[in-house]
Point group: C2
Chain length 486, copies 2
């Protein structure tokens, strides 16, 4: 295979490739607790960079962070009928504490509606108390039978937004606003294009009125639900009796939303950009945007190149670039190149004695567009300007490449069911088709093709001429995006 | 009582004052889950500011964040004998998940040594892998019988550092370094002076070789353990068989440390500075360092002062000040003053029509030293320079005042047991006394006086002439700091 530790090529076994890259790039490792992963420092740093960007966007849209308990009383989960039906089968239950059996078992939160709503009732009395715009960064637990690092784990980290509004229009606006925030983050930070739209009733969040989602296409042409935003209507307000007094003195139930993204996004990042050499990270979310590899043969050269490396690091840090100098002894430069490529660092800066003499470094890009050079010298004095510009351009190229790949794996206008089945079996990818609106038809296609309706796409993604017929031959009532998915 | 909602004076009932201020300043509220609090946005923002400062200091000392599972297999907790003895009585146990009984119950982490060490064994092989310098921001659960918001809750948020080293000296150095980081944070950010030192064997962390602590004195003259740093020796390495190959080829157990601070620090902050008017926040940790209160009588004035307020906010935000404009309608300025004083905002900036005309704002400090004016005008043009300087000075004054208060409540050289008992019963505070070194004597004094040995203080805190005798009359082997504590 010619790649050292032996990374399985993506084309041979994408799933094996994924598991190996998670291990080899030191993103996560298994733990002695079934289904729970350990997020290693390199993987956690990616999550921290994601958190910082998202948190800034949440605050800029008026949200404040808070923290609600890890445990829900079992009776609280039972209050909203659809919600308990959706979540009860996958909960972890605390029955004993402090050496005694609990009177009422506690549920480890799978999501926090059932603990937040009983409390928000105490905070909301009048229209003056609205809107309430909260977010929480937390761990949640869903007892999954089949788990994979980042994509589906028993415990995962996420943020969950929870908001309360005076009327439906405002709740709907908030739901859509946060879907837009997610899309912006996914495209501008993760360089991952997404299709946004509405989930069908069958795929809706348990307890929601409407669920919107961002759907991305991984490199194996399987779809991944990357983030969801729910208009919860008055369902939770009714279940937990949360009413407010309007300006006119009436007492009415509040309208609420919730929205979340999780450490699953790290998995999405890996599968959107990685290649057979390893991880590829968009500069904005790379723990190190550049790694300096000093090259020496003797002590004299070592001193020279390490000094130059330290100088470059200082300059770049001042320019706001996350940079690491790999000065490990007893490891040849080639092995270092190999390791940092495997770990997806966008730019490598090689500094040998001749580079020092020439006053430049050799820059090597982890990925290139069709016309760009992979390797070229940059004068040290120009680095603080040219490297940020290069990283910026690479960020954009990565998004363009991912979009192009997704478009190549997208088909529109399919009406023939056999053709659709053939497409799912061979190419995979997104298929824009018609839908008769019947949940029974949706279920039948799911069982027969293992594909699901990902979303009823938002207007900008729809085909100029929407399909006239559903895959079942009945007239279509809505264009939908179908795919096999994670 | 003349203070509106009725805050109990500290001198009357400190504990009632504390509970009321937590509610009235909207720092936290109770939840339907026994012993678990809800951290409200204002309280959580203080914690976020603490996190940001500490996280920066951890990274500056070479640590990386990671994330380990919430659950520990029960058998893992049982591996280190002292550790399980210390923590088993207060654990919450998951026995069921996904509708089925678990083969082995899971423990919700009370601290993470028992899940981190089985995993670190896979990461550490050679001396080249050391040191490992990790930190984790997480929630932990300890089933406490008597809880109080922030000070002692069943679930709390904290950070736990975990490091591995090649030898004892390096582990000890790390333990002391992080104790120093905590002290710096507590003094420079929280404006809370602390005494650092070694815990006695009786007060040591379950499983540690040596535990060091930062001890602060609250305004009711009770001590509070604000942070601990443990040299774990080779105890966990032995329990989980974590060995590394030395440069000489030997296989030896690693040395480890752990250290942590928690949301308890928010409680410490409240009880170090608050007064009968409410919370007092050090500027560096205040969600809002300044609040602008525009004052108007009619629409024309309203437009004028709101515009001036927006201008001031822009200027101050550019100068890096966290500022909020309280433009609420239907609430008189006096009520706003009252609310922000209760919530501890360091500086209020009043802007009325006359101030706008004069090109100035009226600054009102939440607290003043003996010689400072409480209220004075500042020209708007000078705000971006003068306000940061004022906040900086207030930060220093707050630390000085807290230090003075602590010193006034500290006594040294007490050898007479009756006098000591009298002191604990009346003043409280810190008492530097001798100690015979006998745990039985330590226990007896604890039972009889409800005071404990907080620490064997570090050199700089010790008395010039250490006490010759213990409270029991035997010769002293070490000067100790005693106090009644939270």
């Amino acid at each position: 295979m010619g790649n050292g530790k032996g990374l399985t090529p993506q084309g041979e076994d994408f799933s094996a490739w994924y598991n190996e890259i998670v291990q080899q790039a030191e993103l996560a490792s298994h733990s002695p607790v079934r289904g729970c992963m350990v997020i290693r420092p390199y993987g956690y740093r990616i999550w921290e960079l994601m958190q910082a960007a998202l948190d800034g966007m949440f605050k800029a849209t008026g949200h404040q962070n808070a923290y609600f308990p890890l445990f829900l009383p079992k009776s609280a989960l039972d209050r909203e009928a659809q919600h308990v039906k959706g979540f009860a089968p996958e909960t972890a239950i605390v029955t004993h504490a402090g050496h005694a059996q609990l009177e009422e078992p506690l549920v480890v939160r799978p999501t926090s509606e059932a603990i937040i709503w009983p409390i928000l009732g105490d905070w909301i009395h009048s229209y003056r108390d609205l809107p309430v715009l909260l977010n929480q960064w937390a761990n949640v637990v869903r007892w999954e039978l089949r788990t994979r690092p980042f994509l589906r784990t028993t415990e995962f980290l996420w943020q969950e937004g929870h908001t309360a509004h005076a009327d439906e229009a405002e709740a709907e606006e908030e739901t859509r606003r946060m879907l837009g925030v997610y899309r912006t983050f996914m495209e501008e930070w993760m360089a991952m294009p997404v299709i946004t739209g509405l989930k069908t009733d069958a795929e809706r969040f348990a307890g929601a009125l409407r669920t919107y989602a961002c759907e991305a296409l991984m490199k194996d042409n399987k779809a991944l639900q990357a983030g969801t935003s729910h208009n919860l209507g008055q369902n939770f307000a009714r279940a937990f009796d949360v009413r407010f007094q309007t300006e006119e003195g009436e007492h009415v139930y509040v309208w609420s939303t919730s929205w979340g993204v999780s450490t699953r996004l790290v998995g999405a990042l890996i599968m959107t950009h990685g290649d057979d050499e390893g991880l590829i990270l968009p500069p904005k979310l790379a723990p190190y945007e550049a790694v300096v590899v000093p090259i020496w043969r003797d002590e004299e050269q070592k001193e020279l190149v390490l000094e130059a490396g330290a100088h470059v690091r200082r300059d770049l840090e001042e320019a706001g670039v996350r940079v690491h100098v790999d000065d490990r002894d007893g490891m040849n430069p080639g092995s270092k190149y190999y390791e940092w490529e495997r770990r997806g660092v966008p730019v490598r800066l090689e500094i040998g004695p001749r580079d020092v003499k020439a006053g430049s470094v050799m820059a090597v890009r982890r990925f290139t567009g069709p016309d760009a050079d992979r390797k070229f010298p940059i004068p040290v004095a120009e680095l603080p300007v040219r490297l940020p510009a290069l990283l910026d351009s690479m960020q954009g190229e990565l998004l363009a490449a991912a979009r192009e790949r997704r478009e190549a794996a997208t088909i529109r206008g399919l009406e023939d069911y056999a053709e659709f089945q053939e497409r799912m079996d061979t190419v995979g990818g997104f298929a824009f088709t018609g839908w008769c609106g019947d949940p029974a038809c949706e279920q039948k296609v799911k069982e027969e093709t293992k594909s699901t309706i990902r979303v009823i796409p938002d207007a900008e993604f729809r085909s100029p001429t929407p399909p006239a017929r559903c895959l079942c031959g009945e007239p279509s009532v809505a264009e939908v995006v179908r795919a096999r998915a994670y």
